[in-house]
């Protein structure tokens, strides 16, 4: 049993924390740290019986996550103050959105950069407004800059010069050159207000974006956390709205993400014990590779299974751009190593 398996068993509630042997905690903690999920685990096990040293570490993690959440929401407020006077509306994405909307997956969730979505015509104005408000370009090379602007779904990252925090301004949720092209305009126009006035994606769109981010964009590095987000989001939304799964299905169809969202749901079932409605609860052979990739973490927090990692890395690029462009891109990147 690998540390990553024990970690997901604890998160899923399949394993009682009191049954962990004294040698097992190190592995679980290291795997959780490597997956950026230690504070999530600390929340999940807040009432569980754990050894005193682990309880103390978990308490630290919960306190640190509460502070980090406050700082992330403050960063969102800073973006609002920069963009609102110019009449630029934005939708919060990912971790900051989950925190702003008070969703259960935000408990202990690590929040990295501030991710926002604006409609494509507003992107350049948003960039200017942010540059005027103290953000600046992270030093990058001309190829990367060109690549971002030409092909990506977001601007090159900006960093605030005094607060040292990054912002990613998205105009859609997957790279422009990706085989799947979600309807970003529909996402923005159907966004909803969180209680403190920030716009966040509608429930179904939020789950779609989460699945797209996990399955269709990237190599599944750190995927256990994104999958946990997806699991908590869909579970809570379905509990609040009996028609949620049906709505999600329709919305995923609109964005071209139906297979992606279904796969995320099956993985959430397999790894976190999610309950799926009929029609979703299927078994697909390819899922095994994803499960193996997600759980490839040893008890020192190291990635395992190098070949599988490489395969998923190539897959992420294959989905992201057409073959000729991929060849050009990898060649340029390789020469720059």
């Amino acid at each position: 049993m690998s540390a990553a398996h024990t970690l997901v068993d604890l998160l899923a509630g399949r394993r009682d924390a009191a049954t962990l042997g004294r040698g097992e905690w190190d592995g679980v903690i290291s795997a959780a740290r490597a997956e950026a999920m230690l504070a999530t685990l600390a929340h999940r096990l807040a009432d569980a019986t754990v050894p005193p040293a682990v309880a103390a570490l978990f308490a630290d993690q919960r306190a640190a996550a509460a502070t980090a959440r406050q700082q992330a929401l403050w960063e969102a407020e800073m973006a609002r103050r920069a963009l609102a006077p110019r009449g630029i509306e934005f939708v919060l994405l990912k971790g900051t959105a989950y925190a702003a909307a008070g969703l259960s997956c935000s408990e202990g969730r690590q929040i990295g950069d501030l991710d926002i979505l604006v409609i494509a015509p507003d992107v350049r104005r948003a960039e200017n407004a942010l540059l005027n408000a103290g953000w600046e370009w992270v030093k990058s090379d001309p190829y990367d800059d060109h690549y971002y602007r030409e092909y990506m779904h977001e601007l090159p990252p900006l960093i605030h010069k005094t607060r040292d925090r990054m912002i990613d301004v998205h105009h859609t949720i997957l790279p422009r050159t990706h085989r799947i092209t979600p309807d970003a305009l529909a996402m923005v126009s159907d966004a909803v207000r969180s209680h403190d006035g920030f716009a966040v994606l509608s429930s179904a769109d939020m789950a779609c974006h989460c699945a797209a981010h996990l399955i269709a964009d990237g190599d599944l590095q750190g995927g256990l956390r994104n999958l946990w987000d997806f699991h908590c989001l869909t579970r809570d939304f379905a509990a609040a709205d009996a028609h949620f799964w049906g709505k999600l299905d329709g919305r995923a169809e609109l964005h071209g993400l139906r297979a992606t969202v279904h796969r995320a749901a099956r993985l959430a079932r397999d790894i976190y014990g999610a309950e799926l409605p009929p029609g979703w609860d299927r078994h697909v052979t390819g899922d095994g590779w994803f499960r193996r990739r997600l759980l490839a973490r040893d008890d020192w927090g190291r990635s395992r299974n190098w070949l599988l990692q490489q395969a998923f890395y190539l897959r992420s690029h294959w989905l992201r751009m057409p073959p000729a462009m991929l060849a050009r891109h990898l060649w340029t990147k390789w020469r720059k190593r």
Partner: protein, 288 residues
């Protein structure tokens, strides 16, 4: 990992894994006198590893990783494996510890009160702490001082003292040879030799001490003492802290309380003897 050990320094339980035996053996020699509780889960994990499997034997070079890894950090040759382990332990504490406000400062204590010394490397804070630790003070640590947000007390982190360059000779002549680690010559940080703290300092490592005096030492130049206002001490200590920002309001409150309740001075001194004399004078004033 192939080789592993556990070390407890102050409140931090480390787990250190390595692809080679030598760094682990060197650590275990250095930390043999520290209390050990192998059943306790680790707060921080350090990994010393070869970037490519063949680099375990072929020009072996030690990469430093763990819970936190600095991208693009240069590896060290295996002969400096002990330094790599030390750097790895520091890195994990600096980036991962959240229970206390972490100050990049040395500290010594006497009669339950602490003297905290903060400064850049080269300021002499380590050497001064090591020397005071041999003369009636309890060495609390040469690298990190932890401040408890609840009580405001300083907590010890008495890792093996990292003596550098000229300080090696100065301290070596005062201590038993058994308390010194191997000489690591010409490392990227100069010559390094570790000093094992006195047994009393290790035995007392869980005893907090109320800060009584903060010094910002500067080695070199005329002996001078400059009182420092709360504001300047505050700003300088935010710069000396690796987790001040991450702790948010708790960090601010802890540091504000520290500088309000504790007198601070900038001191320069031409040599260790006058440095120690300055410290004793200011200490007598502070605890009066």
């Amino acid at each position: 990992m192939r080789y592993a050990t556990r070390i407890a320094v102050g409140p931090v339980q480390f787990r250190i894994g390595s692809d080679w035996r030598a760094p682990i053996a060197a650590l275990e020699r250095l930390y043999a006198g520290y209390p050990r509780d192998d059943a306790r889960a680790a707060d921080a994990t350090v990994r010393l590893f070869a970037a490519r499997p063949w680099r375990r034997w072929l020009r072996p070079s030690v990469h430093i990783g763990g819970d936190f890894t600095v991208p693009d950090a240069l590896p060290l040759p295996l002969s400096m494996g002990l330094l790599a382990a030390e750097m790895g332990m520091n890195l994990q504490v600096a980036l991962g510890w959240r229970r206390h406000l972490l100050l990049h400062a040395s500290a010594v204590a006497r009669d339950g009160r602490a003297l905290v010394m903060s400064g850049e490397s080269g300021s002499g804070k380590s050497t001064l702490a090591a020397l005071l630790g041999e003369e009636g003070w309890r060495l609390m640590g040469d690298e990190f001082t932890l401040v408890d947000p609840v009580s405001g007390d300083a907590l010890a982190f008495p890792r093996a003292v990292s003596l550098k360059n000229a300080a090696i000779g100065e301290v070596a002549e005062r201590v038993a040879p058994g308390r010194l680690g191997p000489l690591l010559a010409r490392t990227p940080k100069g010559d390094i030799r570790h000093l094992i703290p006195r047994a009393e300092a290790i035995a007392a490592m869980h005893e907090p001490a109320r800060p009584a005096l903060i010094l910002f030492p500067r080695f070199g130049g005329e002996a001078a003492v400059e009182p420092m206002g709360e504001g300047e001490a505050f700003v300088r200590l935010t710069e000396a802290s690796t987790n001040y920002v991450a702790l948010g309001e708790a960090g601010f409150a802890t540091l504000a309380r520290l500088v309000r309740e504790t007198p601070a001075f900038a001191v320069s001194y031409p040599d260790s003897a006058s440095g120690r004399a300055l410290v004793e004078g200011l200490w007598a004033e502070a605890v009066r």
